[in-house]
Amino acid sequence: MVGLFVRLKLRLLRASLRKPARLVLVVLGLVLGTLTVGLFGVALFVFRDEPRTAAALGALIAAVLALGWATVPIAAFGVDETLDVGRLALLPIRRERLLTGLLAAAFLGVAPILTVLLVGVAVAAVVRSVAALPVALVAFVLLSAMCLLLGRLNTSALSRLLRSRRGRDLAVLVGLLVVLAAQLPRLLVQNLDEQRLQGIGDVLRWTPPGAAIRSVADASAGSWVPALAELLYAAVTVAALLAGWYVALGAALTVVDASTERTRSRRRPGLIALLPGGRLGAVAGKELRYAWRDPRLKFSWLQMMVFGLAVPAFSLLPAGGRFAPLGVGLFSALLVSSLGFNQYGPEGSAFWLTVAVTATERDARTDLAGRNAATALVVGIWVLAGSTALAVVTGTPSAVPLALGAGAAVLGAGFAVGGVLSVLAPYPMPDQPGSAFAGPGAGRGCLAGLFWLVGTVVTAVASAPVWVPALVWGDRPLVVVAVLAGGPAWGSGLAWVGRRIAARQLLARLPELLVAVTPDRT
């Protein structure tokens, strides 16, 4: 049974490597991972003369690994089919044999191997005496098992939920949070010194992964009683995880899946009531509903809006005056409108409906205008609220009209750029509703990034006639009035021109666009 599962896993790995893009990704992951392992190895070696710091760093690595294994596999559920034990439900295999087979297979793969290496480095760094070697060996095995079991336990326990749509939506959010949380270590490292590290280590020693590392350090120091107690603590944890997994496996194999559970929609979200009727309002309403209900879109929107507020708030508030509130208008408009650089991509093959109902250039223009209206509504409210809040802090009320006027110009420019880019350079989003890590399709990430860069630069340049005066001469009342009146005019003018160009191309390329945004079948 063990051999069978190991071979199955190897075969799945090999099959996934057949795609060149995937191979590049895996090699890149291996190289980066090995570099990380090496880096930590060096760091731990540096602290050889500081046992307390070395133990703290080792405990930190072990804790982060365990936390990673507890969360990342949930997000990767839709990607890695070996995580879904439900697929084995129909096979006549006893649970004990399934358990050992799956556990053996769990050690194969890039992430498990790197994890084991990293655990090895962390343990090796705290060994100080030959007598401690057996303890180190046991700690190493326990830690590795702990990480991998955490991953298995969670996905088995949640496999019922994860196969439902709500569960997949949840998984996407968990994944996006993990991506965000991955930024934390950088912040942490910037403010880290030995004192703090030791403080963290003192806390982490009470957690099972920290205790396993600590046991090696204690054994090296000759204090055998605490060492054995800590080892026992870790062993009990592993046993508990194993038992939990055994139970979860049984439940996952026998309970029917929840994929038919239903969600009811709210009938009238507030903002949609503000929209006009007809085709334009229908498109705008659909956009708003999708921004709220599709976890990936929702996250992109929130991310751009939060950045649009946070970047100027943190970097420009110290400068005082109109700069921070004005910055909210400029950044929010620029970032949110950049979400529209590939506005047909997220629709995927559902775009066929637009193809079926679009027959004139006017239809195409209305479609684009509806999308723009939805964005403008949200950004308008956001900028009004954000810039007002910051203007209250800085005591410059005149910055609010500046932010609204200049923001409108940037937004209009972004709409023009977005419309044209969406039609001329569309790309599909992969059809993996359960994965947060699904970016643009294989090999297109780079190109998409390039388009984004070019698009934002063009947007900034095209709207410069409004935001440059607002930035430089915004303290003069006449400029404030001119920006408030001229910004929306300039922006809607640009958006109008962009829509005309984009609509003509859209109408001429409808079937081709449908092919371009339909995800590749895998």
């Binding site: 749509r165 038919t260 559970e261 239903r262 969600t263 009811r264 929609s265 009938r267 009727g277 007809g278 085709r279 309002g281 229908a282 498109v283 309403g285 659909k286 509903r289 999708y290 209900r293 599709d294 629709e347 995927g348 093959s349 559902a350 066929w352 409906l353 637009t354 193809v355 079926a356 109902v357 679009t358 027959a359 004139t360 409808l510 079937p511 081709e512 449908l514 339909t518």
Partner: protein
């Protein structure tokens, strides 16, 4: 003679080296219940997609109610109802929202779209799920909401790609009833299927597609030629039976 509902001339579609549709000529009479049958990969979906403006033909013309789909899309698209297969719907809308959205895209006034949507939801037995997201619908419910969206603007010709595929018998009956009512009023249904029995029962006209070409077309009695449609179809596409020596182990188990 009235204008045919659909006229297809010399329609060709190539994808790289593969020829999906290799020169098809077809006429669908007005008011007919037209079945397009053929094995998997025969080109049924590609043919329907070209007729509805979703796939651009490599060569040839399609006219819907006398209007060229590619030269006069305004008139042609207004007269087409489409239910594609293998393409998504806007699944994060509820059934009711999806119909309201589609109706407005089709240019119906808001109140009219909502009124028709309510009626369709009721007739298609979806009223209880009207506020459920389409993402949570079963296959049969998806086909029904797709059909409702295709019918909303009362098109002259309805193109349905595999409308009965993986649909439970209850939903299939509801779909059939709606379609039969629709054709009785003089409107036309063109649908693809490989459920021969169903086509046999429903359609008055059929076309058999094989390797991208029409191998038989016309009134169902003529295509059948005294046999069941299934036998006629299998003879046309040349299906082989397993040889006597193969699968000898199968069925010998005594347990």
């Amino acid at each position: 003679m009235p204008t045919p509902a659909v006229e297809i001339h010399g329609l060709v579609r190539r994808f790289g080296a593969t020829v999906a549709v290799a020169g098809v000529d077809l006429t669908v009479p007005q008011g007919s219940f037209f079945g397009l049958v053929g094995p998997n990969g025969a080109g049924k979906s590609t043919l329907l997609s070209m007729a509805t403006g979703l796939v651009r033909p490599t060569a040839g013309t399609v006219r819907v109610a006398g209007h060229d789909v590619w030269a006069d899309p305004v008139a042609a698209k207004a007269r087409c109802g489409v239910l594609p297969e293998g393409l998504r719907l806007f699944e994060r809308l509820s059934g009711r929202e999806l119909l309201g959205f589609t109706g407005r895209l089709r240019g119906l006034p808001g109140a009219e779209a909502d009124g028709r949507a309510e009626e369709l939801l009721r007739v298609l037995d979806l009223a209880g799920a009207a506020d459920t997201l389409v993402a949570d619908y079963s296959t049969g419910m998806r086909k029904k909401i797709g059909l409702a969206a295709a019918l909303l603007h009362n098109p002259a010709v309805l193109f349905l790609d595999e409308p009965f595929e993986a649909v439970d018998p209850v939903s299939a009956r509801v779909i059939r009833d709606v379609l039969e009512r629709y054709t009785r009023s003089g409107s036309t249904v063109v649908f693809s299927s490989h459920a021969m029995e169903l086509v046999d029962r429903l359609c008055d006209t059929v076309a058999v597609l094989h390797h991208g070409s029409v191998v038989a077309a016309g009134p169902i009695a003529a295509v059948r030629g005294g046999r069941s449609l299934e036998d006629a179809f299998l003879a046309l596409v040349g299906a082989g039976e397993p040889g006597a020596g193969e699968l000898r182990w199968l069925g010998s188990s005594s347990g």
